[in-house]
Symmetry: C2
Subunit: 232 residues, 2 copies
DNA sequence: TAGATTGTTAATCGATTAACAATC
DNA sequence: TAGATTGTTAATCGATTAACAATC
């Protein structure tokens, strides 16, 4: 049995965030979170930077450097307590903030997102779907009520919605986004295939560009083909 | 009227790819492609690195540096010919290779992807959907035939499929991926919410982690909130 | 205590920006 | 020609890796 209490005491004392966290580190946090979650599911209690580096295909040095931006999470001679580390990264990423989200656009994509456990796993509550299709309004999809987009503004205000998921066609994206921003929504997750720019600096936009990813895949395939033929 | 012929002659002479293209540049290419496409749609003929830098929110220096990795695309005193640049980047990214793709998993996500013009715009042909649901097999979704997953292997072999889009549940992902790899598929676009690792080095995997993006959004929201309260 | 493994400094590497000569 | 703007070099900045003393 591990002496977890003792270790935690040590952790708590030292855990202080450094001045500025490099953006390169922030970008890697979700991936750490994912792998630590898997290790936790597998029943693992602790891990060294060396072992984690093998699993994640990065250098052990980078892992230690990264995790140290937020204060001493590890313990010399022992490694990292997985549960503790997972919780700390969750906190850092705002997973435990319990944000409320609405999904605007109940088409295939909106429904695909609504159906997953992605939100719940990250502490985000999907409280409603919105659409302009009268056939859908009033129904439930995967247990989530569908409301008319006309009600979006008042609903977001009333229910303290922090996250708006945008799965409407490009043409409607700006209007919906501005409505949500005006109603106090703090983050927009934009799937509308365009770079959404809002004047309101208090609203964060995360643009998803699946097309870019598809192009990167094409590039890599093409690269592979060229390498094959480079036999001189 | 622009003297495009003369400029193109010059371009062709100089357009030689440098030794190694930094991965940071490759990552940015799809974004250049997107913006140049928009400019093209807007009927623009040419653009300077200075103007493009304003639109794209990057430095003009970076644009010139990036585009120069592939040879001289621009012309001093003139700028860049948008059409020419767009075509060149398309070629670099493999858009003009005309790859064939199948989508495996005809659920909400598979259908959402099938319905978009994303593939066509990037020169990728969606030739078939695959599912194990007998109610769907034999039907068409958005004009694309749905076939049974049992036929996946022989179909990919016969129809020279280069890209496999994976929108099946996590549990089925590895089996489907290995089937496709064995049938000669060169790239797998993986939406199965897990890091797919294949032994076959000739197959490229592009993992989509929407959850990571959602977490990044949560982080940014949390950041914004903290800034507000930092008024000392 | 001895072994293991972190935290942290210093060295290296790569990416970005600035500046300007080349040239259209 | 004069003005504009690239291509390219050099300077700066940030991120990664290596190494090892600190310490559990």
């Amino acid at each position: 049995m591990e002496s977890i209490d003792k270790i935690h005491g040590t952790f708590e004392r030292r855990a202080e965030q450094k001045d500025v966290v490099p953006s390169a580190v922030i970008k890697r946090l979700p991936r750490y979170h994912r792998y630590l979650g898997d290790l936790l599911d597998a029943g693992r209690l602790r891990i060294s930077s060396a072992e984690l580096s093998k699993i994640m295909n990065v250098t052990a040095s980078q892992i230690r450097q990264d995790l140290n931006c937020f204060g001493g999470f590890g313990q010399q001679g022992y490694g990292y307590n997985i549960k503790y580390l997972y919780t700390k990264i969750s906190d850092l990423l705002g997973v435990s903030a319990g944000y409320n989200a609405v999904i605007v656009g109940a088409g295939n994509l909106g429904r695909a997102l609504a159906s997953t456990r992605m939100f719940a796993r990250r502490g985000v509550n999907r409280v409603a779907l919105f659409d302009i299709d009268e056939n859908l309004v009033g129904k439930e999809i995967y247990g989530i009520p569908v409301m008319h987009t006309d009600e979006l503004y008042s609903f977001c205000q009333r229910e303290k919605i922090s996250i708006g998921v945008l799965t409407v066609p490009k043409t409607a994206a700006y209007e919906v986004a501005r409505t949500m921003a005006a109603a106090g929504v703090k983050g927009i997750w934009n799937f509308a295939n365009m770079e959404l720019k809002l004047d309101d600096a208090s609203v964060t936009v995360e643009n998803i560009h699946l097309g870019d990813s598809l192009m990167t895949l094409c590039y890599k395939i093409k690269e592979g083909e060229e390498e094959d033929s480079c036999e001189d």
